[in-house]
Amino acid sequence: MLYYILRRVLTMIPTLFVISLLTFVIIELPAGDYISNQIAALRATGESASIAKLEFLRAEFALDRPFLERYLIWIGLWPGVHGFDGLLQGNWGWSFEYEKPVSEVVGPTLPLTIVLNTATILFVYVVSFPIGIYSATRQYSWGDYGFTFIGYIGLATPNFLLGLIMLYFANLWFGLSVGGLMAPEYIGQPWSVGKALSVLAHLIVPTVVIGTAGTAAMIRRLRANLLDELHKQYVTTARAKGLRESRLLVKYPLRMALNPFIADIGNLIPSLVSGSVIVSVVLNLPTVGPVLLNALQSQDQFLAGFILLFVAVLTLIGMLVSDLLLAVLDPRIRLGGKA
């Protein structure tokens, strides 16, 4: 098991490199950079006083170096102006727009992003699991039809439109805003029980909005997997032996159906994280989503790059956890197919 975990974590390293390179290519795609665009704007207005300062900044952040060197400086594998000082050394870069280090800009939003995504994944697990079992064991019952129907609608309704619709009705009926992740009086306050409760209460709407499509998909998968198992001969045999229905279900078919269920949630994580970014923008949640949108629009490259990388790493860690969970459940994976 230890060997498996080690191998699984080690394979993440090359993946991380490729992803960081990809991220860097993407944020460097727009013509020029934040500062050279500002310089051009200042030149156009004939103002040359502050250009010298900007030229200094350009050199300071190594924006005048060739592409590969810039990338290596960014991740901290090449000495920049101040020696090795990149992501690997814990320096997340500089936000030109806010004129602050990236860590100060995104810092407060990171925990909430992680909390929101974890809550969504838990929501998908907790809701789809019992409903999936119910639908499979009571196939073609009214409950099954009801859940299937709701599932189809949930699958097709895009999460950001769902967020918009919920926002609209909450405003119309209750006159309250469902946006934000905590009551206004707690913003900027230190953490307390009251603040934590407020965050929990505000988490419900975004979690449901982001998780609905995923939950619907998971219910369908679990139902199909479990139905496949329930029609097999060993179930009939067990029933003929007089095994209790509940024990019969939990002991064998459920365990077989559980593997694809966990693996599928791993595959679902990228789309859940995707959803959390746009739903955060729509519902105005203080996660990395709105910051990313802003940074992309103003070409604040290091800020955007860091957030893209963070979101990708979050996804990778989610998939890692789901893989490890799978290994705990399934000895065939843990032992590397030797058995």
Binding site: L29, A156, L292
Partner: protein, 386 residues
Amino acid sequence: MNMRNEPEHYVNPDAFNPSHAETLTPEQERYYQASQWTIMWWKFRRHRVAVWSGVILILFYLCVPFAEVIAPYSPNQRSNDHLYAPPQTLRLFHEGSFVGPFVYGLKADIDLETVRWVYTEDRQDVQPLRFFCFGPQYRFWGLFDASFHLVCPAKDGTLYLLGTDRLGRDVFSGLVYGARLSLTVGLIGVTISIVLGLFFGGLAGFFGGLIDSAIQRVIEILRSLPELPLWMALSAALPVTWSPVWIYLGITVILGLLDWPGLARAVRSKLLALREEEYAKAALLMGAKPSRVIRKHLLPGFTSHIIASASLSIPAMILGETALSYLNLGLRRPAVSWGVLLNEAQDISVVVIYPWLMAPVVPIIIVVLAFNFLGDGLRDAADPYK
């Protein structure tokens, strides 16, 4: 003495009739002689929901070539007298007598307290609709000038079936024109994705070895990335100076660029299975080039499956474009798509006062649902084991 009780060797003296063993009924014969695509069509027809979804989608897609004819206004035509006008109800009876389809005229008064226009129906002002009429001019398919419309407002009247927005632009006409971009973005994106998926999946599946594992790694990495943030970053990189047509093409390429890994994986696994079949080996032994074997012998075996799976990613692309345009990262006016229209609904306090700005949500959800059902039906029909 035959102790083992074996039957004596016996040969039927009659002439052998090959069709004697089983005679096919005309239906069976039709079935066995039908092509793969015909069988798929028969199976698909049995799937009621999928068929109806297809019909609905065809109706929506009619807006693509005929938007100018269907919409009563052009999408960017402003009316300063009708800012945020509410939807006009279509009626048939005026004071108990039948007049055919008409709308009541709108009377605008300014409310000085909230500083906004308040519209009331003028019950005396009957404005019957005109059908097959000549209205505002447009250039049809960029070929010739025309002014023919399916429906026009009465002379000097208005026809805002879904209200107007902040600049007095008709929302209904916007939806009709918006279908043009919103509905085609998925088709072009999926085409790009199929081409890439076939190419990389084909390489990986047919040659195997080092190429296979390299492509597999790339697929794994791309699949583990959250799509939307990448779409956002890529479309933010599109130059602002580009014309709407180029932005549109850029966005379709971006949508297709991240979608191919799923398809490539399907192509690869199918190819790996089919490559081992005797007919593929025979073709190789006879000296056929790999490209010919893939195209002539292997591809037909799973084209239908690929098309069916690809159709399931069209709704994701439609939603992708909508999300990007909604966030101001995608298309911008004067281009009109459903996402661009939804952009007007960004401020929720405005939407609460003028709820008709949310209208684009309805066609988006209908189209996405229909594509999901259609894709499910197609996939079932393409599956030979069902």
